[in-house]
Amino acid sequence: MAEPAVPTAIPERADSQPVEMLLNMGPQHPSTHGVFRMVLWVDGEKIVDVEPHIGYLHRGSEKLCEGEQYHQIVTLFDRMDYIGNFNNELAYCMAVEKLMGLQVPERAEYIRVILCELNRIASHLLYVGTMGLDAGAMTPVMFSFRGRERVQALFEAVSGARLMHNYFRIGGLKEDVPDNFRQLVDELMPLLKEDVEQSDRILTFNEIFLSRLKDVSPITADEAIGLGLTGPMLRACGYEYDVRRAQPYSVYDRFDFEIPVGLDGDCWDRHWVRVQEMYQSLRIVEQAMEQLPEGPVASSLGRRLVRPPEGESYVRAENPRGEIGVYVVSDGTDRPYRLKVRPPSFCNLSALRRLLEDTWLADSVVVLGSLDIVLGEVDR
């Protein structure tokens, strides 16, 4: 690999013939899933080096958190990973609950898990659709968005919003689910299963799709761990690591589910792992609906102002994109002293230079798509 600095001049070879070229991809490029810029240094069709540029969507969320009260910060976490909102809210709420030593009612925990797993399916469905688009298939997105739409209709019925839910509270939930929640989920599940199956069937083993993704930018498990990859990116390398299993939080230790792992860690394995995860999430939702207990959904804290004792806490959780970490430092007031997020997309994106090593220019879009980044979370 060349120097990490942005290559500014056209490099010259020993024979003084400039053969390499700088290519600017983004920030307005459809395949970058947002505003992300790659400065590619290409030799013909081969990628020599890449310099990612982020920060086009930087809103200073972590700094904003320091100025907001604890209950207001949930709205900021909605806007970080805006595809997996519930998972983000859960990570933040757990961090503050840990700091306060707060017990969450069982019913609230179950509803959180159900919504988080449905959110994971919705997120992966979006991924399947965009991965198809990146690889040149226009149809799968129609199938996957139909399923996503159904999940979002349920979210709207539960929380009142399709994307920025602001539904989880420190110590529980905002309010109980609507009375017809069980009926809504029962109606949703078979349809969603069908949608997941269809978006799997139409794309995963398609011959063109396979040849576009198979053996593109493979990575070994050791290397992936060294680069800090988590989530489906790491599991695709064959390393069975899932925070829900490795360090169960909420009530995840009560469900029977498998952790799908890939073989070679190439782009197709990443796709396959995500597709299989959707089936496992469906299983978790089914089990959680069976076990869902009655009872309160908010802790004794109620609406009182949240003032955690002085101290700090770190919580990690499995987001659709990987392991999210939330670090909260409290100085005893109603606002955090410092809040740090370990965003999975950002850490996965940091491996881009390694992943694009020795790939073709045309594959760069597929590799970036297989990372499944959300720029709201990368830039925060």
Partner: protein
């Protein structure tokens, strides 16, 4: 090859079913109904009994708003002096900048007087730059529309009814066991 054909069969089957029942909603002419809990722009509620707003201008919502999109002030309630209303103070001025509002619903959660609701209003684009600064009469209009549409009962009244019903049920079972 076989797998690709399978995918094509799926598309074909969907096309055939799609011919039978179209699912696309023709949006501007055929509006998608919102769910009962849908959170649109916040609005103020109207107490029909004494014909005045529920809001007393206590500023709880303003203090808890993450984006500081609201402002309000209170005044002495003339109807309280006449003995018509139990509210000593009443809202004098209220404005929400809907461009800043993020529809989080925290104001509704923290209101002690059932005075603010997340209405079902969401199509409120205007041509003016400041057209989304909504004042008290406009907020009450939206609120009234919402109250009529949803048969609105104040949440505290609803909670009390629920608690009373639960208590009555508990008493009944206690009586039966005796």
């Amino acid at each position: 090859m076989l797998e690709s054909l399978k995918g094509m069969m799926l598309t074909l089957a969907s096309t055939v079913t799609g011919l039978r029942r179209p699912v696309t909603q023709q949006y501007p002419t055929q509006a998608t109904p919102v769910k009962p809990r849908f959170m649109g722009f916040p609005a103020l509620t109207w107490d029909g009994g004494v014909s005045e707003p529920y809001c007393t201008g206590c500023m709880v919502c303003i203090r808890n708003c993450p984006t500081q999109c609201m402002s309000a002030s209170m005044m002495d309630n003339p109807k309280h002096a006449d003995g018509d209303s139990s509210r000593r103070k009443i809202v004098d001025y209220f404005e929400i900048n809907l461009n800043r509002c993020i529809l989080c619903g925290i104001c509704v959660e923290y209101c002690n007087f059932d005075a603010i609701v997340m209405s079902h209003e969401h199509e409120m684009s205007t041509y003016a730059r400041n057209g989304d600064r909504v004042n008290l009469p406009a907020l009450l209009d939206i609120g009234k529309k919402y109250q009529v549409k949803t048969d609105w009962v104040p949440p505290t009244v609803l909670a009390k009814q629920k608690a009373d019903a639960a208590k009555a049920a508990a008493d009944d079972t206690a009586d039966a066991s005796e």
